[in-house]
């Protein structure tokens, strides 16, 4: 069977989630690889959620938030930005290719950007191949 990546997406309800909605309204084409989870703010995404997704076999994780200055809660996205820098290093230390994780700022007006990001991420994950942690742990 051909490998299609499985992406878990965490989308801020004020920006990226609206952006994903707009992508649909604009009839933008992007691969059906992403499973989007709506969160109140990208700052709500605990690093634990991302590790959990990877531990359960997600091939990639996308976190989407508002551009700086646009955060509905003033500085939630700034906290996310800091956290994700540390987290990216930590998942690399744990043996994962850091490219499996992506942080993007996508506003509610950027439907096309959402579609582009998902397409690009999917291609990158196809190159990386599947996340085999589940099989590895079972062995």
């Amino acid at each position: 069977m051909e490998y299609t990546p499985n992406i878990v997406g965490f989308a801020c309800q004020w920006c990226t989630y609206a952006g994903a909605d707009l992508a649909g309204n604009l009839r933008c084409k992007y691969p059906p690889t992403i499973k989007l989870i709506r969160v109140p703010c990208s700052g709500r995404v605990k690093p634990e959620f991302i590790l959990d997704a990877l531990a359960k076999g997600a091939d990639g994780v996308l976190v989407g938030g508002c551009h700086f200055g646009d955060c509905h809660y003033k500085d939630g996205n700034r906290k996310t930005a800091n956290r994700m820098i540390l987290l990216k290093k930590m998942i690399a230390d744990m043996g994962f290719e850091p490219k499996r994780f992506r942080l993007e700022w996508i506003s509610g007006a950027e439907g096309q950007k959402f579609a582009d990001v998902v397409s690009e991420f999917t291609e990158e994950l196809i190159k990386l191949g599947p996340n085999t942690i589940v099989e590895e742990n079972a062995a």
Partner: protein
């Protein structure tokens, strides 16, 4: 006395430091011993053998403590035996509860660990490059065995059902005194919980700016203790001074012993109740109080292994549990 609590203590992969902290109770231990009958304390204290424990009837021990992680097949076996003999099993100390310092071995393959231990370390004299084997035959007739080295470190909770967990490396003796009193009085929470005062290290730390009704500022500097930057003011928060201190997310039953003597908290107390992955939570709370992304980048550059930093005592119990091969 018939109503004495039958007590057992098993050391698995640990260093026996947790047993020391029980002995550190000194006079209080004498009072406690009136209520305890030690039926098994091996391999460190009592003159009993593993087979004596195996011979005991099931559920005959009222209270059993285990300190140490599961590293060898022997540890797993004895933990399972003790579980069947004991009514209440306590993972005593952070090794048993979360895997402990030795859990960082999960970031390295077995070969690297063995090479360091038996070949490369300066004090080792092993010209023939002999590694320990689970079985060997001596003089052609005596078969000797050693326990097997498991492929990864596990906390006790991965092997058997644990009734209570206690953090600390080792648990602070003053807290152990409270704990043992609570156990003797039968004053215990629901099974499966951490035995803790429920306060974070920051909560009991003299350096917490909140003590002076001042808000903590964001972090703008990144320093390491090993760089020798001198000593901070007595009341200055280590985090604010630029040191990575995990006090905010760690159980404070130690009364902030480390920050008191200028050492940042490394999280041996274990996570605050409700947190599953200690390192992820630590990373989350530190990330949220950094001034900007530039400081975060500097932190990444300063601490070469973020996983070892955040999971110093809890790697085997984390969501990933160990280093994944080529993903």
């Amino acid at each position: 006395m018939a109503d004495k609590i039958k007590f057992a203590f098993l050391l698995t992969g640990g260093c026996a430091g947790c047993e020391m902290s029980l002995v550190d109770l000194s006079e209080s231990l004498v009072d406690v011993l009136d209520h305890l009958e030690v039926v098994f304390w091996a391999p460190t204290v009592a003159d009993v053998k593993y087979k004596d424990l195996e011979a005991m009837p099931d559920q005959s021990i009222d209270l059993a403590f285990v300190d140490g992680m599961i590293r060898l097949s022997e540890h797993e076996h004895m933990a399972k035996v003790l579980r069947s003999k004991a009514k209440v099993l306590v993972a005593f100390g952070v090794c048993a509860s979360l895997g402990g310092v030795a859990g960082m071995a999960n970031l390295h393959p077995r070969k690297a660990l063995f090479d360091t231990a038996y070949i490369d370390s300066p004090s080792t004299d092993n010209p023939e490059g002999i590694y320990p084997q689970p079985k060997c035959v001596v003089d052609g007739k005596y078969e000797l065995t050693l326990p097997e080295f498991c492929d990864r470190v596990r906390p006790l909770t991965d092997v058997v059902t644990v009734d209570y967990m206690v953090g600390g490396c080792p648990p602070h003796h003053e807290f152990v005194a409270k704990l043992v009193t609570a156990i003797v009085e039968g004053n215990l929470p629901a099974k499966g919980s951490w035995l803790t005062g429920g306060k974070a290290v920051c909560d009991v730390c003299d350096r917490n700016p909140a003590n002076e009704q001042v808000n903590r500022k964001t972090i703008t500097e990144v320093k390491r203790v090993v760089d020798g930057n001198g000593v901070l003011e007595e009341k200055e928060c280590l985090l604010q001074g630029g040191y990575l201190c995990l006090g905010a997310v760690t159980q404070g039953d130690c009364n902030a012993s480390c920050p008191k003597v200028n050492i940042p908290c490394r999280g041996c107390g274990g996570p605050m109740p409700g947190v599953t992955d200690f390192g992820a939570q630590a990373l989350s709370s530190i990330g949220a109080i950094l001034e900007n992304e530039e400081v975060a980048e500097r932190m990444v550059a300063k601490y070469p292994d973020m996983a070892k930093m955040m999971y110093r005592y809890s790697l085997p119990a984390s969501l990933l549990g160990r280093k994944i091969k080529g993903q």
